[in-house]
Amino acid sequence: MILALKSSKAQVMILDILILLVICILLINIEFQEVNNYKTRIENDLNNLELLEKEIIVEQLITDCKYLATLNKTTNMCSKNKIEIKNITQITVDFQKICLLKIDSKEVIKNTKNKIINTIIKRAVVNNNNFKIIEVGFCD
């Protein structure tokens, strides 16, 4: 009788230990998944931030008279989206990541030698009183 009781106690103990092991393995697995998920999220957020930064740079190019935007002489203000091909050296100095600038099919900046274009951002502008697409390529 005593022997049978001891054996059933031992069985419960072994089962408990087994379940504990399963919990530990599961916990480690979940933690790994969480860490991986967090890493992916951070990478994704960083990529998004980088893309947002590039969008802001292109916005600045077509809005700021220091770059491509045209100065409205009557209001003495910069006309957004109305551009002239000018200050190209200034653009390449201030934004070294820009390696390609195309206005319609005309290449204004091309510095893609030994470089891979990561992102191309397309915007619509007015140049010489015509609707044109400006494409800005970014390299690392």
Partner: protein, 122 residues
């Protein structure tokens, strides 16, 4: 009863852990999707505003011209509206549920009021 107490407690713990980890996992996933969605919205909004501003500068009044410009910027389904004349664009494109739209109203050089609205599905 006392014999099985340890076993029941571990199973309870297991369920609690699974539940908590699922909650954390789903929370993390939703945040990532929102960031991507917000960025897409920003990009589409800036392109729509480009089309509206260029239309104002060039005083575009006909749908065909605006449609050509739209197609140069977007492959998405959308619509354009100039003074209540509406045209749907890329209607064959599917899988786009949300809509971003913007409008502009200005007076052109012939003193005519022009209203332009552009909507893009994504």
């Amino acid at each position: 009863m006392t014999k099985n107490r340890g076993l029941f407690f571990t199973i309870d713990g297991l369920f609690a852990l699974i539940f908590i980890s699922l909650l954390i996992f789903s929370f993390n996933m939703s945040t990532t999707t929102n960031t991507n969605n917000d960025l897409e919205k920003i990009i589409i909004t800036s392109k729509i505003s480009d089309l509206l501003i260029t239309s104002q500068i060039l005083e575009i009044e006909n749908l065909k011209e605006l449609e050509n410009n739209y197609n140069k910027m977007f492959e998405n389904k959308g619509y354009i509206n100039i003074n209540s004349k509406i045209k749907e664009i890329n209607t064959k494109t599917i899988n786009e549920k949300q809509l971003i739209s913007q409008s502009i109203k200005y007076i052109n050089s012939s003193n005519k009021e022009i209203y332009i609205e552009i909507g893009v599905y994504y």
